[in-house]
């Protein structure tokens, strides 16, 4: 035994050994315990953090907005649950909605974790289990993994145990979606929280693996800039378009093109997170990304319909289901590269590249499934080179001509069917009228609001290809769609946390706004830009990722500069940080965990509840998923919620079926313990929600400022936060907020420039007593200002309790 007790060992060498594998977990836990830092909940089961959830949910109550009053899960149904009735299994609409919400959360978590598992398999095969995690200047490599599972991964192989835990728990949660399981909404909610937490673990595993193996920027504030926009694609070259979320395949294409000197002969463009990750690939030493980002999911159909791509390669997640059908019409061969999307195509994984290229280039087959990613790396670029001249020769016609455009618009009878089916009920009729008269401006504006879903095409009684009309009419603005996006920089490093942590906890940096996720915006993409610019100017830390990170790069100021060019990417107030793709969202929660670990020296290992409690009360961070549409977005949001980070989604987010909203008017919910002595501590009603929807960015901005307020703010911090809350309310709502005074504990909390004015209001409108000589508040506030107070939800953390 002594021989192996201190070294590596590989079980491959053994024969006839019966090994009790599972105990390894126990051994690891034991080891960590000996080191004295294992918290109470490593690898929590479904009920492991339920008390915490119930506590959160008692302040932030579920508000259900069903998408359907019926349930069709089992064949006793379908059942009408309208009016919160019970169905055949005894479930009522409330519990069913929480179940539906849970299902969406675990679907999203599975998408990320499934992605992570795929990457891990692939990268371990390529780089080995012992390949070290390499993430930049950080000792705390995997904050989510460590906090949730108690594992401190150092290598790729270490991540496997964590993903196994995620898979086990997701299976448990999926089981509860079955008819006849949970009966109480509150416990479906707790399960949804569990799923959200797992999502962040799954995402973290994905990104750690790819950052470590694929040369992506490692906590790099100077991660390079890349071109973005439909307008930046050079259609003169053969165009190879990749769509999806999994960079493994495109990385091989880039390598192949590089090795074969094809990089300047092929235009490589990407849509969705694969695009984001391909501009991170091998950029850890800097350089200029070779590939270009086309844009978000909302550009997929427009890009295909343009006819510009010569070959399309898809991998997984957020890929339109009709890619093959749409591409076929324009003679664009499609290569699918992942088991999640196979489109019924023949599996060519074991065929020779030449044969596949021949079949696809000749049009004999519309596409191919190639699961061997080395083969994909070769086939896709070679196919693009071969197909481009063939398509050119054929004269593939995509969008209508100018004459056809006018004729199509004139064909419109203004019945309104398209507007009824449009997810945003856009004013297509008016734009058609104008277009028929030669005025394209309405369509040009509409184009930015349009998510290119194509539902209008399906319902036009005159068979007008409405989306083609929109795209054709907007060619001028599309050709100008050229922006700049910073390549995703990955995690926030330990030194950055050390530097900025105190400002965040004390409130002197007014807050972190995480602008994340998808492209289902209520009023087009520019709102994002307005929001980010406003908050950046006010010194908030803006963190971004995924589709939002892309769309933010599409706008320029008068000097022609994008936000990425104007604002640096350090973890400091007034910085704009693109962490990366969808799975990089784990770095946002990870940052909050790191603040607790590094700045506050809290033990995070298997210590979820305490860390969530810390974050909820001390870190003024709000997530914004303005265009959230996917199940992944709601999983991410729910993971943030369990960790005490509130999230706002755009109005479409109401279709996630439930929000978590507190009642500021119920005082009993706005109390904590002071850990120093266990006394009750009244707190401000902020965050006042965990998940809510908001109508417009004008409404959103003051709300963000307000919901960055935390009990732990020092006076300087509270003053700064209040200043922004009041100013943003005045700027966008035209008024002082109704509730600003509720956040005032002492006169030093008041914005300096307005102190006197505000004191007057407090006296006059709210009846507070003011000592005008000393300009001090004598009575009025319900809360004391006490920086050394230790706000906590957890009785057990109070002195004398343990």
């Amino acid at each position: 035994m002594s021989k192996i007790s201190t070294g590596h060992f590989s079980i491959e060498d053994l024969e006839n050994v019966q090994i009790t594998i599972g105990k390894i977990v126990g051994a690891i836990e034991k080891k960590v315990e000996e080191e004295g830092d294992m918290g109470p909940t490593p690898k929590p089961g479904v009920s492991g953090l339920r008390d915490w959830d119930h506590q959160v949910l008692s302040r932030y109550q579920p508000v259900y907005t069903p998408m359907c009053d019926q349930c069709c899960y089992c064949t006793f149904g379908k059942c009408d649950l309208g009016g919160n009735k019970e169905g055949a299994c005894g479930i009522n609409l409330g519990a069913h909605q929480s179940r539906e919400f849970l299902l969406r959360v675990i679907t999203g978590a599975a998408a990320h974790s499934g992605h992570g598992r795929h990457l891990l398999h692939y990268l371990i095969e390529r780089y080995g289990r012992d390949h070290p995690l390499d993430l930049g200047p950080s000792n705390l490599l995997a904050p989510n993994v460590q906090m949730v599972t108690g594992i401190k991964p150092k290598t790729l192989g270490d991540l496997e145990e964590a993903i196994e835990y995620v898979e086990e728990q997701l299976t448990q949660l999926l089981a509860t979606v079955h008819m006849g399981q949970e009966g109480a909404a509150i416990d479906f909610e707790s399960k949804a929280m569990h799923g959200g937490m797992l999502d962040h673990v799954g995402m973290e595993i994905s990104d750690l693996a790819q950052v470590s193996c694929l040369g992506m920027p490692k906590s790099d504030p100077d991660a390079p800039l890349a071109e973005i926009g439909m307008g930046c694609i050079d259609a003169a070259k053969p165009v190879l378009l990749v769509i999806g979320h999994n960079v493994a395949g495109v990385a091989n294409m880039i390598d192949y093109m590089h090795e074969n000197n094809l990089s300047d002969k092929i235009e490589l463009g990407g849509l969705c997170c694969t695009a984001i990750d391909m501009i991170r690939y091998q950029m850890d030493k800097g350089g200029k990304p070779y590939a270009k980002v086309v844009g978000t999911l909302a550009k997929e159909l427009k890009m295909i319909r343009s006819g510009i791509p010569d070959v399309i390669v898809v991998d997984e997640q957020c890929v339109r289901a009709d890619v093959l059908e749409e591409a076929k019409r324009l003679s664009i061969p499609v290569i699918t590269t992942n088991e999640k999307i196979m489109y019924g195509l023949r599996n060519r994984s074991k065929d020779k590249a030449d044969a596949i290229i021949e079949d696809l280039a000749s049009g004999k087959e519309a596409g191919a499934l190639i699961l061997d990613l080395d083969l994909v790396g070769e086939v896709a670029p070679r196919l693009a080179l071969k197909v481009a001249p063939i398509r050119k020769e054929k004269g593939i016609k995509a969008l209508p001509s100018d004459e056809e455009l006018t004729a199509l618009a004139a064909k419109c009878v203004h019945c309104g069917a398209c507007e009824l089916v449009c997810p945003n009920n856009l004013g297509i009729m008016d734009a058609m009228k104008a277009c028929a008269e030669g005025d394209l401006t309405k369509f040009e504006i509409l184009h930015d609001h349009c998510v290119a879903c194509g539902r209008c095409d399906q319902d036009c009684p005159k068979d007008i290809p409405v989306l083609d009309v929109i795209e054709k009419a907007s060619q001028k603005v599309i050709s100008q769609e050229k922006g700049i996006v910073r390549s995703g920089r990955g995690q926030i490093s330990d030194p950055e946390i050390r530097q900025e942590g105190v400002n965040l906890v004390m409130g002197t940096t007014p807050g972190i706004i995480a602008l994340v996720g998808c492209s289902n915006y209520p009023e087009g993409t520019k709102d994002l830009y307005r929001l980010a610019e406003e908050m950046l100017k006010r010194n908030y830390i803006m963190v971004t990722s995924g589709c939002s990170a892309m769309d933010l790069g599409m706008y320029k100021d008068e000097e022609g500069k994008t936000l990425y060019e104007r604002y640096p990417a350090k973890f400091l107030g007034g910085n704009l940080i693109n962490v990366g793709s969808c799975v990089s969202n784990s770095h946002i929660s990870g940052t909050a965990i790191k603040v607790a670990a590094i700045f506050a020296q809290r033990n995070i290992t298997g210590n979820y509840e305490e860390i969530a409690d810390y974050i909820m009360n001390r870190i003024g961070a709000v997530g914004v998923a303005w265009g959230a549409y996917s199940q992944k977005a709601v999983a991410i949001g729910t993971g943030c919620n369990r960790l005490g980070i509130p999230v706002v989604v755009g109005p479409h987010g109401s279709k996630y079926r439930r929000a978590l909203i507190g009642k500021p008017y119920e005082e009993e919910h706005w109390k904590l313990y002071d850990a120093r002595n266990g006394e009750t501590l009244p707190i401000p009603a902020s965050p006042e929600f965990m998940l809510t929807t908001v109508e417009t960015v004008e409404e959103l901005m003051p709300m963000l400022a307000k919901n960055c307020i935390r009990p732990s703010d020092n006076n300087m911090g509270r003053m700064i936060k209040l200043t922004h809350y009041i100013e943003l309310s005045q700027k966008y709502l035209g008024q002082m907020p109704d509730d600003w005074h509720r956040f005032v504990r002492t006169e030093t909390d008041l914005p300096l420039a307005k102190r006197e004015e505000l004191l007057k209001i407090l006296e006059k409108e709210h009846g507070w007593e003011i000592d005008w000589k000393r300009k001090k508040i004598i009575s009025g506030p319900t809360m004391k200002s006490d920086v050394s107070a230790q706000p906590t939800n957890l009785k057990r953390l109070c002195k004398g309790e343990c």
């Binding site: 508000v63 907005t65 009053d69 609409l93 008017y665 417009t696 709502l733 035209g734 109704d738």
Partner: protein, 170 residues
């Protein structure tokens, strides 16, 4: 008189319970009869002068206004009773018997909606429909199937006419 009930076409259904189409005069009478009506005015009125005027006019009739989104900007200086509130939070509070309303006098019994995004209001109303006894009236340009009562799908100009008739009868 405007017939606001004709076109009740929907794109999708939520279930078997659907709004009753209503004409402006009837809707107005119901609001008049209510003890504590509330107009929830959404952000779509901000850039629509026609709607903004009508929202103000309803407020002038003494109806409390909940201004959601940034619609409050329309009501400043208009001498109406308008308060900003987030619509999702409002929906939550309205379902709470303990909420005292904007004026501390208690909750509301008849909720009127104007100026909202169709899909968003459909969701908010879905919550009311299934989890409260509140009566809701949508006086929107689109048929809001999850309301208790709703106008049908109207052309913009007919909508304005219908609103005027509604206001007249308040």
């Amino acid at each position: 008189m405007v017939d606001a009930t004709k076109n009740t076409l929907v794109y999708t259904t939520w279930g078997r319970k659907t709004a009753k189409p209503v004409n402006p005069n009837v809707a107005a009478k119901m609001v008049s009869k209510a003890k504590r009506p509330l107009l929830v005015a959404g952000a779509e009125i901000v850039d629509n002068e026609q709607l903004a005027q009508r929202a103000v006019a309803i407020g002038k009739k003494g109806v409390q206004i909940a201004a959601t989104g940034h619609s409050i900007t329309v009501f400043h200086g208009k001498d109406v009773n308008a308060k900003y509130i987030n619509i999702h939070a409002l929906a939550h509070y309205l379902g709470d018997k303990n909420w005292k309303g904007f004026d501390g006098q208690g909750s509301y019994d008849m909720i009127v909606f104007l100026g909202h995004k169709k899909y968003y209001l459909d969701q908010v109303l879905s919550g009311f429909k299934n989890f409260s006894d509140l009566k809701t009236i949508a006086i929107e340009r689109h048929f809001m199937q999850n309301a208790t009562l709703s106008f049908g799908n109207l052309k913009p100009e007919v909508h304005v006419e219908a609103l005027d008739e509604f206001i007249e009868n308040l």
